[in-house]
């Protein structure tokens, strides 16, 4: 359960370019559900996602994770929560070039100092689940767009997070691959994970796997008075 209370985010405070991206958002995101954030471009979806994922802090308001207030925690703890609780799937898949798919997948686990053997085994197992075992030792730049995206998904799963966050996961995919992605989301749900996706793709927010759709506009929940 993720709870947001009147979350606000102002960029470049005090400068001429000051911009208020989130204007008081209160929201509950239930566990083991698939929630989609949608809304026009610039409405604040990515901003909200990065606050929920402990990547940035709100300017005002509070965020609670399983009842625990996280907004005021120091950076070290935030990083710790981030890597144990959240798995991120990025729009640009953000993989590191020059190293193999397998190494990319294992990277988020390095700071946790797990033994190499079991870690590699788990990574291979996850790659296998997404039909990537044959590509494990290929360099990232040799992969196709769909393969790269799936490597990004595997990387999000390596630390066995309870919440999976995906920002515009299907924007670089064709229809077939987008359906494939939704199938993968289905398996996340079966595994009891909470999934949070931003998308303005109807294919995503109208999918049957989605439990809840949250609409944003100008940094507010749609329907709420400005």
């Amino acid at each position: 359960m993720i709870e947001l209370f009147d979350v606000r985010k102002v960029f470049n405070t005090g400068k001429p370019s000051e911009y208020s991206a989130l204007n008081g958002i209160s929201l509950n995101i239930s566990s083991n559900k698939v929630t989609v954030l949608t809304g026009p471009s610039g409405s604040g979806k990515t901003t909200l996602l990065s606050i929920i994922g402990c990547m940035s802090r709100p300017t005002a308001g509070r965020v609670k994770l399983s009842g625990r207030e996280i907004t005021s925690l120091p950076e070290r703890f935030l990083t710790d929560i981030r890597r144990k609780t959240f798995g991120f799937i990025f729009q640009q898949h953000n993989l590191i070039k020059g190293i193999t798919a397998l190494e990319n997948v294992m990277l988020p686990a390095y700071p946790l100092g797990e033994r190499h053997g079991p870690l590699k085994e788990r990574a291979m197992h996850l790659l296998d689940r997404l039909d990537l075992s044959r590509k494990a030792h290929s360099r990232i730049e040799w992969l196709s767009g769909g393969e790269a995206q799936r490597v990004g998904i595997v990387r999000a799963l390596i630390n066995d997070p309870s919440v999976i966050i995906a920002d515009e996961p299907t924007s670089n995919l064709d229809t077939k691959l987008s359906y494939r992605f939704l199938e993968i989301v289905e398996t996340f749900k079966k595994d009891g994970k909470t999934v949070l996706i931003t998308s303005h793709d109807p294919l995503v927010y109208q999918a049957s796997v989605v439990d809840e759709v949250v609409r944003l506009r100008d940094g507010r929940l749609e329907g709420e008075a400005p």
């Binding site: 990515t46 996602l49 990065s50 994922g53 990547m55 940035s56 950076e75 070290r76 990083t79 981030r82 890597r83 991120f88 990025f90 729009q91 640009q92 953000n94 993989l95 590191i96 070039k97 020059g98 190293i99 190494e103 990277l107 988020p108 390095y110 700071p111 946790l112 100092g113 797990e114 033994r115 190499h116 990387r155 630390n159 920002d167």
Partner: protein, 416 residues
């Protein structure tokens, strides 16, 4: 604890693979870096070895030398001066020395001819015990090593000489062979090579020829009652300048030279050389500063992006700094070691090949300018702090700046 070690292993692993990923850039960096270390280290090794050599030379030279001066020039010293100087209070011993230079027209080289101290003229009975005698080409090492070879004149024997390595090399002459010299009167004078000198310091012994006193006198036509100069030893070093003053009063045409004065002369010679070295040294340091500054002024877009990704997937700022630290350390340590080893070979085995043009003046005097390998921990530490430390720091600073940005930046404008 175990996971901590495991974590460091992962970070170092990833660092090494990152270095390999940017192979061309990093190898270029390494070569440039090693080159600068090489120049710095060469200069440092060279000047230090020279100074060391000089101090070895000086350790052996007498506390005071007295020359006779005629018309402002060094002249032969009458032995009667010696007896007078010996009477001065505080003087312990006075020894007449016989030495001179000989120009070999065939090889265009200058030799230093010397009569070993033991048999110089009528030696004082009370003087210090005879120096040890070296017979064969025996190699001696260690701190107690003498710069000046110790060969007693009695082992040389009339008609024989003992020559320095440099001469042996130049003339390609070995034991048992004869060298034909020309005496002051122009007569031929064949002398047999009894032995060659092996000494710690080539600087001193390379051009040396040792011979007996009678041979020496015949060679240069120096009368029995003259020597080249006098070596004076005193009981109390504090009195050196007083005694020197007394000697000048006694013999206004004499010039006492105190060892410290020689030291100053040497110093000015080496400093002149050193002065040139300083120019090279400062140029190298400057190059290094520019190089480190360039490095410090920023990371490439690719590196920045990678740091963003690592932060977004859960790496801490400290993990990233540690990674950059290892990266800097690996590059600088490799370059440091390579540069130092190359400089060592350069200075002590290839006779400072690169500096050769600057040392031309010397290389005629010493056909092969071979320095005694000498490197101190202090030199290495200085070099280390001049190079490895600033470089490593300069790689951390930009990484730290990049690593403290919000990880959500990785979610935006990260187009490839």
């Amino acid at each position: 604890m175990k996971s901590w070690i495991e974590k460091q292993k992962y970070i170092i692993d990833f660092t090494l693979s990152s270095l390999l990923r940017r192979k061309v850039k990093n190898i270029g960096l390494l070569i440039l870096y090693a080159l600068i270390v090489f120049i710095l280290a060469s200069v440092m090794f060279f000047t230090h070895a020279i100074k060391k050599e000089a101090s070895l030379v000086l350790r052996e030279s007498p506390e005071m030398i007295v020359q006779k001066v005629v018309a402002g020039r060094h002249d032969l010293m009458p032995l009667r001066y010696r007896d007078e100087i010996l009477k001065i209070r505080g003087v312990q011993a006075v020894e007449g020395r016989l030495w001179g230079y000989y120009f070999d027209p065939v090889f265009g080289a200058n030799y230093t001819l010397l009569v070993p101290p033991a048999t110089t003229a009528t030696e004082q009975a009370e003087t210090e015990p005879m120096r040890t005698v070296v017979t064969e080409n025996e190699h001696r090492h260690g701190p107690e090593e003498q710069a000046m070879p110790l060969v007693g004149a009695e082992t040389i024997g009339a008609g024989n000489i003992v020559i320095g390595n440099g001469i042996a090399r130049v003339r390609n002459a070995g034991k048992g062979e004869f060298i034909l010299f020309r005496t002051h009167a122009g007569e031929g004078m064949p002398l047999r090579i009894k032995d060659t000198l092996s000494s710690a310091s080539e600087l001193v012994s390379s051009d040396l020829i040792l011979m007996t006193e009678p041979d020496f006198r015949r060679f240069f036509g120096i009368p029995e009652n003259y020597v080249t100069d006098l070596a004076v030893s005193v009981r109390n070093p504090e009195e050196l300048s007083t005694i020197a003053a007394k000697i000048t009063r006694l013999f206004p045409d004499s010039r006492p030279i105190i060892r410290d004065e020689i030291l100053r002369t040497y110093d000015s010679i080496f400093n002149w050389r050193g002065g040139m070295m300083i120019v090279i040294l400062s140029a190298a340091v400057l190059a290094f500063v520019i190089f480190a500054w360039d490095k410090a002024s920023g990371l490439s877009a690719g590196e920045r992006r990678e740091i963003g990704i690592l932060k977004a997937i859960g790496w801490e700022t400290s993990d990233i700094i540690r990674m950059k630290f290892w990266e800097g350390a690996v590059i600088s340590l490799t370059a440091f070691l390579a540069g130092v080893i190359l400089a060592y070979i350069h200075v002590f085995f290839t006779h400072s090949l690169v500096f050769e043009p600057a040392l031309k003046g010397w290389s005629t005097l010493y056909p092969q300018f071979k320095l005694m390998p000498f490197v101190s921990a202090e030199q290495l530490t200085t070099l280390f702090f001049l190079t490895v430390v600033p470089y490593t720091v300069s790689t951390i600073v930009p990484a730290w700046r990049a690593a403290t940005i919000d990880p959500d930046a990785a979610m935006r404008h990260t187009g490839e």
